[in-house]
């Protein structure tokens, strides 16, 4: 993921969860605002922003910033390979 893509991703997190730093450690466990509705809003926003589609199994596994960023990275790579 490029640094521009990463900052676009962080913007989505900031807007949805109201956080401004500590992204690397950010997870559903340590963030009160990250409930199931926020999870849904995050995925919807990320899909729209990056034009990717996640599968339900992937969505269920994306419970922290790092795993979401990794999943997105993989999607973007797969898109570029096409």
């Amino acid at each position: 993921m490029t640094s521009i893509q990463e900052s676009r991703l962080k913007n989505i997190f900031s807007e949805t969860l109201g956080v401004s730093d500590g992204f690397a450690e950010l997870s559903q466990k340590n963030c009160a605002a990250w409930d199931s509705v926020a999870q849904l809003n995050l995925i919807i926003a990320v899909e729209a922003e990056f034009d990717v589609v996640f599968e339900p199994e992937e969505i269920a596994a994306m419970t922290n910033f790092s795993s979401l960023a990794a999943s997105l990275s993989a999607k973007l790579r797969a898109k570029n390979d096409l």
Partner: protein, 551 residues
């Protein structure tokens, strides 16, 4: 709070966070008195069969009237008019049950709106309501694709936002947008020239997730969360197909006893074994099984469609019995509704139903109970009574453990101790003497399956402790949690437990459960530690309106 939404699906993503609160799913028992705007936004569940359309619309309207009666007269009340579910799921092309049911609801609502000040109708275009993203539908019960988020937000900004006052001032009582949307797609539904007669189904990984011979009766996935709910959807639709005259059959490599046990014990499955007119459950090759099915039913091989997730089995049938249709099974389970649409488009949709097609007696019998709902529900008590909620509680039933582990992992809101039990944890604790209670909930609209879990340990001197108590948010808000607790207390008492302890472990998400034990007669003996003496009996649960069904 500014806005309150009565809903039966997940609508949170479509509204700005912070100023809007939502009812429980399908619940009208909690009506806040401090909201300025109320919105009624119900949708037909897309898995509903055409035969259920009227009962659903009637139940929505009965609930709506309860909500209206409880909402302060000066508050604004907006009602989203009903659209039929996506037409492409329709088994019979000319069937207009859902249109008629929606029209019944909508005209009843308009009549109410004429009589009540500050009540308005809102339309959501069919292009939006027809467009379901099955991924979000199955993983979060979102009724239509989030890509329409901006359009929906725009519709409601006009009502909840600055323009609300202006709208409320209009004298005609009907905003300009209000205009029931037709279903443009319904008229162009494909109807196959020659309708196939029989659908032959595989079982493992086709009608449910997992392999019964390996995962066990409790381990297979059907109902509950994704992907179990995708299989339930598929089964429900196949059941509707059978009611329209299509013969169902099973071709499965399995032990017949295992399969019979699944149909017997997993009662939340929409399909029952009796729906299948021919059943080949053995270890012979599938071409032999399908050939026997054709002979037994006295139909040609070219009248058969074979649905199996395994490409190898489909290729085998293709080679051995080329007249049998073998549509490709979707690689993602959230695409099962699309697969069903393909089955309809290419093989099974009927233009109209003839009398012979209608083997519907059973269906009508099942519906009679629901139609009772049509009668007036004058009060909340009537409504809860009319729902005929039935709870059943089991203890240490290992077939329930996989679903209980899932509930324990996933439930955040109504989770008292926030302990997460894996399947292995449950199996280990039960062998150490712990009681693991499972709650199942049924009402006239169907079987919700297992929705609650509680874990009770022995502690010192004849006492016990509730180590965990969690209930799915799908069934919250009807007093069900109180009844579940009371039933556990009764059973613990009959085991000789004198005093029972419980703990509330606050998390960032379980505040709604904070007063649960206190409300149910427990004394708080230390911060968030509760105790109840069972020697004097078990206090009655607040609001006992349910029939408790004990296995």
């Amino acid at each position: 709070m500014k806005n309150f939404v009565f809903r039966n699906s997940t609508l949170e993503p479509f509204f700005p966070r912070g100023e809007t609160e939502f009812s429980g799913y399908g619940d009208v028992s909690r009506i806040p008195s401090d909201a300025e705007n109320f919105l009624w936004f119900y949708t037909f569940p897309p898995e509903a069969s055409s035969a259920e359309a009227f009962a659903l619309a009637e139940s929505f309207f009965a609930k709506l009237k309860l909500a209206l009666a409880g909402v302060p007269a000066e508050a604004r009340f907006f009602v989203v008019l009903l659209n039929p579910p996506p037409a492409k799921l329709r088994v019979v092309a000319s069937d207009e049950n859902f249109e008629k049911a929606a029209e019944y609801f909508n005209s009843s609502v308009r009549e109410q709106a004429r009589a009540r000040k500050n009540m308005r109708c809102v339309t959501v275009p069919a292009e939006i309501s027809d467009d379901v993203d099955w991924r979000f539908f199955f993983s979060a019960q979102v009724p239509f694709s989030p890509k329409h988020l901006p359009e929906i937000a725009e519709i409601f900004r006009g009502f909840f936002g600055e323009k609300a006052a202006e709208n409320a001032g209009k004298s005609d009582g009907v905003p300009a947008r209000e205009n029931v949307s037709r279903q443009p797609s319904a008229e162009n539904l494909p109807v196959p020239a020659l309708r196939k007669k029989c659908l032959v189904l595989d079982l493992d990984e086709t009608l449910w997730g997992g392999v019964v011979g390996e995962d066990g009766v409790g381990g297979i996935e059907v109902g509950g969360s994704y992907p179990g709910n995708a299989f339930s959807f598929f089964q429900k639709k196949i059941s509707e197909l059978a009611d329209s005259g299509i013969i169902l059959a099973i071709a499965s490599k399995n032990n017949a006893a295992d399969v019979e046990e699944v149909f017997e014990k997993r009662a939340e499955m929409p399909l029952s074994l009796e729906k299948f007119s021919a059943r080949k459950i053995d270890w012979r090759d599938k071409a032999t099984q399908v050939r026997e099915i054709a002979e037994e039913l006295n139909i040609g091989l070219d009248a058969i469609v074979f649905a199996d997730n395994s490409p190898a089995e489909r290729a085998w049938i293709n080679a051995a019995l080329p007249d049998v249709a073998t549509p490709a099974f979707p690689s993602h389970l959230f695409a099962l509704p699309d697969f069903f649409v393909r089955l309809l488009d290419e093989y099974f949709r009927a233009e109209t139903l003839t009398r012979e097609d209608l083997s519907k007696t059973e269906q009508y019998r099942a519906n009679r109970a629901r139609e009772r709902f049509a009668r007036e529900c004058a009060s909340l008590e009537d409504y809860l009574a009319a729902l005929q909620i039935e709870l059943s509680v089991s203890c240490n039933d290992v077939t329930a453990f996989p679903r209980l582990a899932q509930l324990s992992q996933k439930t955040n809101q109504f989770n008292l101790a926030n302990r997460r039990f894996s399947l292995a944890d449950l199996e280990k604790t039960v062998s150490a003497g712990t009681r693991i209670y499972a709650l199942s909930v049924k009402d006239i609209f169907g079987d919700n399956g297992i929705c609650g879990v509680a874990v009770v340990d022995d502690s010192a001197r004849g006492n016990a402790e509730i180590a965990e108590f969690a209930l799915s948010c799908r069934v919250l808000g009807r007093g069900i949690e109180n009844e579940f607790l009371a039933e556990i207390l009764r059973r613990e008492r009959s085991r000789g437990v004198v005093e029972i302890y419980a703990r509330f472990v606050p998390s960032q998400k379980n505040l709604p459960a904070k007063n649960f034990y206190a409300r149910n007669g427990f004394a708080e003996i230390a911060p968030n530690v509760f105790s109840l003496k069972l020697s004097d009996g078990v206090p009655a649960a607040p609001g006992s309106l349910f029939k408790i069904n004990l296995p």
